[in-house]
Subunit: 296 residues, 2 copies
């Protein structure tokens, strides 16, 4: 099963890279293959294009004895593990195009423990109601195909996870987040959990493509670029201070350049920046809250 | 005693701000006074000048019941505390001028526990041997006036503290770092610890002024600016991922804008950036190691 999952993840990486190159129209992914001394490795792919200023689509499949740092952090017994995943972060040129993040992952241990995790979340520099609605509708449709508890539960989980505690603001408009999805007698099996994760993986490209095409050629001003860079600063704050995946990777000697591909090409920090009342920037800031109903 | 220390810290903040304004020749500090609901407050001062692109010189003196997050993190009994300090970070315009950080602080509890902490460290975008020597000589001279164990011990502590573990590189050329300096029968008293901390505080301005005047008018290229922004990215990584003070502040609901004044005005992340072999950038990177003898 684990080989099947890893192979499918690899194929997804290929399809998404091809799709994003076609959308960008100019940039090509640069691939770095890497190996992990203790077992496994990955394919880190980075694009710097015409419309995608910096983006990464990474695949990895690693295995070996559980490092002590992991058994401690995840409160797991010693043994051998296998972990595979696909991670994506895209920073667009145009401030009207949102930043997007997607991750799907599978973990198992030789004692039989296994789970899936993942999520997709959107970080618009400017929130457009119809784009936010579209994004959440897409996720809801994907979730609803599998279980009616998925969307409400995973939407709330995303609100709680993608939260910049020290700013008391969400990273963006959320999306879905889930972790440790395993079997539940009579309801969830490894097969139907995998089918769900596959659907989440496949939802990424058409969803982002729609938002990308709609917004990538909109004109923008230097003021909007400046705001984009402030919001990118918040993205850095979330990823380096709060994101468990990033911190876990850095703590456990993961490949730094693959982990930190999520950081924006440029981020700015202005002391105590407050957007003008009533401005589009202030309006966006007001919406960066947990518990918003984006579908309405 | 605690009032004496806080008053002296306030005076130091005033002298340093006046000195930096004179050196910059154009920028003026903007002051934000803030209060902490549970007791105390601070004076955050930010400059955006001609030569100092972004700098902060902060004073705070806070008190009240120990928050549970602090008793847990510092493994201290419950009770009332008092903490005061001065923190400085300066990001210069010119890549030939180093980033500098300084902090001095005093902490006490109503059970009689007290200690001083602090440090100064330098982050040159380009390491110049004579500047590095001068900087460490200044710190050594200050330390040697107080105890001959201070410089070697605190220099090593700085190497270990200002370390970007996931890059296996130091933040810069280090300096001195010390924490929990308390009394030691027959050797160290609250008076002589305070005298040392005062000297560290007074060392800052002449030391930085020397490096500033020497380098601030050197011509620089866009390539050097690009490198400055990569190094600033590393500064962000250190501060948000590893700096205990920053994380402690964010975890305990400190004033975010005062804590994050340390972040640069602009930082860039280029995927897997490797400076050209033999370039000044590569030469600097090679020196970002623990245990360097800068005085020679």
């Amino acid at each position: 099963m684990k080989e099947t999952i890893a192979e499918w993840f690899k194929g997804l990486q290929d399809r998404i890279c091809a799709g994003l190159e076609a959308e960008d129209g100019q940039g090509k992914f640069h691939e770095d293959l890497w190996q992990r001394a203790e077992g496994g490795g990955g394919r880190t792919r980075i694009i710097q294009g015409k419309h995608i200023e910096k983006g990464g689509v990474n695949f990895s499949a690693v295995h070996g004895p559980m490092p002590e740092s992991i058994t401690k952090a995840l409160k797991l017994p010693a043994g051998n593990f296998f972990a595979t995943g696909v991670s994506i972060v895209l920073h667009p040129v145009n401030p009207n195009v949102p930043i997007i993040h997607k991750n799907i992952r599978y973990f198992e241990m030789d004692n039989g423990t296994w789970w899936f995790g993942g999520g997709i979340d959107l970080t618009p520099h400017y929130i457009f109601a119809e784009d936010a609605r579209f994004f959440h509708q897409q996720l809801k449709a994907t979730c609803d195909k599998h279980h009616d508890t998925y969307y409400p539960k995973f939407k709330q989980w995303a609100d709680d996870y993608f939260y910049i505690k020290h700013r008391q603001e969400t990273r963006g408009i959320g999306g879905i987040f889930f972790d440790r999805l395993s079997d539940v007698e009579g309801v969830f099996t490894q097969q139907n959990r995998f089918a769900f994760v596959q659907d989440v993986g496949e939802t990424f490209l058409p969803t982002y493509t729609h938002l990308f095409r709609k917004n990538k050629d909109k004109p923008f001003t230097n003021k909007e670029l400046a705001w984009q860079r402030v919001r990118r600063g918040r993205y850095v704050e979330f990823n380096l201070v709060w994101d468990k995946g990033t911190r876990f990777g850095l703590d456990t000697d993961g490949r730094t350049e693959s982990i930190l591909m999520s950081l924006p090409p440029q981020a700015n920090w202005l002391y105590n920046h407050q957007p003008e009342a009533g401005s589009p920037e202030a309006d966006t800031l007001k919406l960066l809250k947990k518990g918003m109903d984006w579908i309405g």
